[in-house]
């Protein structure tokens, strides 16, 4: 008779106790960082080729400098959540890339003034819209370092717009109202003739701001006073109602950030406000619609103002608790030096925050910004990534004339960020266009919310203004 082998209670306690102790103590033994390290976190780029380039660039840079570099990519939608987690834990990555101004995190990040200064010494000045998105004039702190921004043009289907007599696409917001019923009549199979989102997502945030600014309204003035409640904003809202009735359906109230791309590529809408990502996706997937997608700059409002928000902006922050802040700053400076490669890797999705960094390296410093802008114009006028015709991206080359920052005409501050992230403007427009509120009520409701948010951040000393807030 064989005796069954087993484990008595003493053996079990000894074994499990030892295992538990090893598990508990293991990480404390292993986590010692062997050499200089740099941990980077950023979004999974809409153009995957950019991530491939960036990861290789970062690795090669690390090898060259004797730094162990790790790059983590996460979804755009997870960036804020992740940033909150890192701040709460007081540990995480050395370089954290945001895609919109991280004003709320200002107390937790290092001042990037020295990096901006060094970059400007090497490449010339940072463009104004990027400065206003990363510099707080109240605290005089650079709370982020922007290496790129992305324009937000209009994307339209040329064949459809040609049929209604506008082969070059719309030029004014009013053109959209004119076109909507005509497209509906000629193409009943197109569900949403005009695809401007009215939901709680990124693209709608940009589109509603573009509409507001082009009608000469804004959330704040240049001195950070709340001025949303204005005749101009009311005019924009009333226009939004007309636009919705002329060319949209309730589908736009439920859109997420990818919906307008999908609708355009499926020919279920003929005009959207977006970066070139929808087009590049169509190209990459060899969709026939790619050749039919063309671009227009920001549409003009009733008095000729044409403004559009930057679609996203790459802004790196370095936490106060980062373990390798100096290495991180060095990395950023050299990354900007390779801006031309980065722009091409992104297939012209990224535009330079320091135009001079896109110039040929041998150009004299004083000429660099102009040379960089010229290079961008050349690239967009003759797209090296297979556009048909190659001049298709030319309207985007004019982005500096109409693109602006969140917070325009003032700086991007924590209050503007909260208004942005809690979708106050998309909700205001959605309330008006669906008739849940009159335009006056929707504006009044949004204005009250905005004022409360601004007052909160002013109390923290991060936002100026207040004396000229509208009642």
């Amino acid at each position: 008779m064989t005796r069954r082998k087993g484990m008595d209670r003493r053996q079990f306690v000894t074994t499990t106790g030892a295992a538990a102790a090893a598990l508990a103590l293991g990480p404390t033994i292993l986590i010692k960082r062997p050499q200089k390290t740099l941990k980077i976190i950023q979004w999974s780029h809409f153009v995957p080729a950019y991530d491939t380039w960036f990861d290789k660039y970062a690795k090669d840079w690390g090898t060259q400098k004797g730094v162990e570099v790790t790059v983590d990519h996460i979804s755009l939608a997870d960036l804020t959540t992740r940033a909150n987690a890192e701040v709460a834990a007081q540990q995480g990555h050395d370089l954290f890339q945001f895609l919109s101004p991280p004003g709320a995190f200002e107390p937790q990040v290092l001042d990037m003034a020295d990096v901006v200064r060094d970059a400007e010494r090497a490449h010339g000045p940072i463009i104004d819209l990027c400065k206003r998105a990363t510099y707080n004039p109240v605290t005089h702190k650079w709370f982020g370092f922007s290496d790129n921004y992305v324009p937000d043009p209009g994307d339209y289907l040329k064949s459809i717009w040609t049929e209604i007599g506008m082969p070059d696409g719309p030029k004014t917001w009013e053109d959209l109202v004119t076109a909507g019923p005509q497209i509906k009549a000629k193409h009943p199979e197109i569900q949403i003739p005009i695809g401007i989102g009215m939901s709680q997502e990124l693209d709608t945030n940009m589109a509603t701001r573009a509409m507001l600014w082009s009608f000469d309204g804004s959330i704040q003035d240049a001195d950070e006073n709340v001025v949303l409640k204005s005749d101009q904003a009311l005019e924009a809202l009333r226009f939004g109602v007309r636009l919705y009735q002329a060319g949209m359906t309730p589908a736009v109230l439920s859109w997420n950030a990818a919906s307008n791309n999908q609708a355009l590529n499926a020919r279920q809408t003929t005009y959207i406000l977006n970066s070139i990502s929808a087009y590049r996706t169509a190209q990459d997937n060899k969709l026939p619609v790619a050749d039919d997608i063309f671009f227009v700059p920001a549409l003009k409002g009733p008095r000729g103002t044409g403004r559009a928000s930057e679609h996203v902006m790459g802004i790196y922050a370095i936490w106060k608790f980062a373990q390798s802040p100096d290495v991180a700053k060095q990395f950023l400076l050299e990354l900007v030096t390779h801006n031309r490669e980065a722009i091409l890797a992104s297939k012209l999705y990224n535009f330079p925050s320091f135009p001079g960094a896109a110039a040929d390296a041998s150009t004299a410093l004083a000429q660099k910004p102009a040379a960089g802008n010229r290079w961008m114009e050349q690239q967009t006028s003759n797209d090296p990534f297979g556009s048909n015709p190659a001049t298709k991206l030319k309207p985007i080359g004019t982005a500096l004339q109409w693109a602006t920052n969140i917070g325009h005409p003032g700086p991007a501050n924590p209050a503007e960020s909260e208004v942005f992230d809690t979708f106050v403007l998309p909700t205001m427009f959605a309330n008006a266009v669906t008739g849940r509120m009159t335009p006056e009520q929707a504006l009044d409701d949004a204005h009250k919310q905005v004022k409360t948010i601004f007052e909160k951040w002013r109390a923290k000393g991060l936002v100026a203004g207040g004396s000229k807030d509208k009642a």
Partner: protein, 300 residues
Amino acid sequence: MKFADREDLLGAAMLGPALAYVILLVGVPFVLAIMLSFSSATAGSLTLTWVGFHNYSTILADPIFLRALRNTAIVTIGSQVLVIVLATAAAQVFRAAFHGKRAARFVLLLPWAVPVSLAAIAWTWIFDSTFSVINWTLRVTGLLHGWLYWLGEPGLALFAIIIVQAWRIFPFATVIVLAGLSSIPQDVVEASIVDGAGFWRRLFKVELPLLLPVIAVAVLFGVVYTATDLGVVYILTGGGPANTTHVLPTLAFQRGVLGADLGQGAAIAVFLVPFLIVVAVLMLRVARRTEVGAGGIGAR
């Protein structure tokens, strides 16, 4: 006497990790949430400034919060009503012997096993306002002549959320009800058949009353899962259109994490606590009633 032989110490040591887990991952965050709800804390700062009941008075005056509170109740109750009906029906089906029963049970359990976020993404496509497969099917079969904007109209969007919540919880409820059915004494069922009770009478007059404590457990679990769920609403509608489908967890997330107002976000989240305490007490009571020998099904 060695440590391994001391049952009192050994018991405490073995219970310790579980207790530490609950304290660290449930207790501490809960206390932190209450502290945050009385502060003006923001996402980018580690300082807590006491503001008393300011956050609570602010949200109570906020129509978006009141709507989220109402939606939480509507979604929770609506989905649980559906769950009871579906789980009872499914349990009746799975009680019977039929070919392919094992495969069918496996398929039934899938919604329970699939991660909520993945399932919600799939449902987002099913309910997509432009490409909805439901609309397409209804139009092809001639049952729909217009177009249903599932996630673009508040009423339809809430209905869609209820459907998804019920879909993900009913397999669990079905398993519980099935277990309950198998514990009903066979002689009681047979006696009702002998007395001439048909299927419906047997179901409503004999089985359901006996199953009530079990169904209550399933429903109470479902209530907790639904009322505290962030994923389904966040992925399906994001709280839209125009903030009309927010539930408390999504609004707390939007205000606290995305909007950086941790104090207000925490206050919204803490509003769930009294409600969940009542549910927890009910759960414990029902669980006690169903214990063998305590007057439950197995007690007789």
